[in-house]
């Protein structure tokens, strides 16, 4: 934060431009500091059983993602936890049947959840337009 009450007028100097993922997803608050990674593979992973660390995520994404991954019939187990309430970290564990890749399952889960949001918005706007037109009619 600024040291004093200086006017926000130094427009040409862009000194705190976000970088990396912060820049790529500038509509979300910039959470990553320095070289931090948003997601890491935790030690002890095999191809079909792995735990992932999500930084700066909580129950919001954790539970929704767990749900959508559990919807995948190739998944034997999926669970999430927040190891410590004072650390902004979320762990998600995925175990799959046979030789299905845990990481691909995670990526599919994220895709499915993104598609779900699209459908929800689409149907929400449809219903909203319908109820608006009923009101004006």
């Amino acid at each position: 934060m600024a040291e004093d009450g200086q006017d926000p007028s130094l427009a040409d100097q862009e000194d705190d431009e976000p970088k990396g993922l912060n820049e790529e997803f500038s509509e979300l608050p910039p959470v990553l500091k320095g070289d931090e990674k948003l997601i890491e593979l935790l030690p002890g992973a095999t191809d079909n059983a792995a735990s992932f660390l999500f930084r700066y995520e909580d129950h919001t994404l954790g539970n929704a993602l767990r749900h959508i991954i559990m919807k995948n019939p190739q998944v034997e187990f999926c669970g999430y936890s927040i190891p410590h309430p004072a650390e902004a970290k979320m762990h998600i564990r995925i175990q799959t049947y046979d030789d299905v890749s845990a990481q691909e399952v995670l990526e599919k889960g994220l895709d499915d959840l993104a598609d779900l949001c699209d459908v929800v918005v689409e149907k929400f706007n449809e219903a909203r337009n319908e109820s608006d037109s009923q009101m004006t009619a």
Binding site: P29, L38, A64, L116, E122, F124
Partner: protein, 375 residues
């Protein structure tokens, strides 16, 4: 693949409330739970089954049902509404002078909590709060508050001769309101001011509630403050939360299994808030059919469910032994009645759309992070 019957699906969706316990609380629609059934994620199936119904639509208060959603998803939307949809709020307060009875730190705290509405285009253009370094035109909105309290010219006369005691009639600026904030646009913020002036709006930044009281002054007291408002999210501080409340509840369901007739019926109706249960007279036809449970009760009233949505599921009716085997109370597991009250930056309905966008962005960002992880 077998397809369960509608009756079976309705049973699985029903969360039963008995006098002492709640049964069937968690969803079971996952692959592997029911042999031979397909419960895998299918976007087309979801599109067909998901429904939205509106109950109340005012600009800043709306209520709607999302039907066919699972609890973790509905909860993600609710949590994002409260904590992750951005708005602007005053973050830094630079006090030059404050001789009012409100202490500096209390005044600063109050200012943070004032809901400001900012022009949509300016809001989109605005970047996040500066992590460090100087405030810039693209991340800071400057709002100034300068008020001096003094006697009105005829104030002293009014006080002595007319016995006037209302401070607002005796002194100028006896009350300081949110509307006294003045937006000080700088550099690239100017075009937004011009654009909103063209639309007949004097300023692209204004308090949602102009009459919001900030402080009270007496003659000679002064407040001179410069503030910086920034874009932030509710997870950082509740002042950034875009909604007053965002909550959901499950749709109540009342099944009357055996008819409740006569005096019992009105007693039954009294177990619920008004409008939930209505009383209907038994028709001649119903009374004449010997096999019907209404036989011989012509003209008497019987209870029917009029509007289950109004029921808070207090379970009062289960306290009376005459009703225990005649009624089944519960809620529907995948029917969420949302209620969103906005503080003004977005309309309530837009707020929900914003929340869905944020969830999608979080998914896309995580997907990208996995790609980066493999490098």
């Amino acid at each position: 693949m077998t397809q369960p019957s509608e009756a079976e699906l309705a049973k699985r969706r029903f969360v039963e409330f008995t006098a002492e316990t709640i049964k069937n609380t968690s969803a079971t629609d996952y692959p592997g739970v029911y042999p031979g059934e397909d419960h895998s994620w299918n976007i087309d199936k979801f599109r067909d089954s998901f429904q939205v119904e509106f109950h109340e639509t005012k600009a800043f208060v709306s209520s709607f049902s999302l039907i066919g959603l699972s609890a973790p998803i509905a909860n993600a939307f609710r949590r994002i509404l409260i904590a992750e949809v951005p708005t602007i709020a005053i973050e830094d307060v630079y006090i030059s002078n404050n001789t009012s009875v409100i202490q500096d730190e209390v005044l600063a705290q109050r200012m943070g909590l004032i809901p400001f509405k900012i022009d949509d285009d300016l809001f989109k253009w605005l970047k996040w709060a500066p992590a460090k370094g100087q405030p810039r035109d693209y991340n800071t909105i400057q709002l100034d508050l300068e008020v001096n309290c003094e006697w009105f010219e005829d104030g002293k006369d009014k006080y002595k001769k007319a016995g006037e005691r209302d401070p607002r009639k005796l002194y100028k600026n006896a009350h300081v309101y949110a509307r006294d904030f003045v937006f000080k646009p700088v550099n690239r913020q100017m075009p937004f001011v011009n654009a909103s002036n063209d639309r007949g709006i004097p300023s692209p930044v204004f308090p949602m509630h102009p009459e919001l009281l900030i402080a009270k002054l007496r003659p000679g007291q002064v407040i001179k403050i410069k503030t910086h408002a920034v874009k932030g999210i509710g997870a950082d501080h509740a002042k950034f939360s875009p909604c007053a409340t965002a909550s959901y509840r499950l749709m109540p369901k009342i099944d009357i299994i055996k008819p409740i007739i006569g005096a019992d019926a009105s007693k039954f109706a009294r177990c619920f808030p008004e409008g939930v249960i209505s009383l209907k007279p038994v028709t001649e036809e119903q009374a004449e059919d010997e096999n019907s449970p209404y036989a011989g009760h012509e003209g008497e009233k019987y209870a029917v469910v009029a509007d289950a949505m109004k029921d808070p599921v207090t379970r009062e009716c289960l306290r009376h032994p005459e009703f225990t085997d005649k009624v089944r109370l519960g809620r529907i597991q995948d029917h969420f009645i949302f209620k969103i009250e906005s503080t003004g930056q977005f309309t309530s309905n837009d707020l929900f759309v914003e929340a869905a966008k944020v969830l999608k962005l979080k998914c896309l960002r995580a997907k990208r992070a996995i790609q980066l992880m493999n490098k």
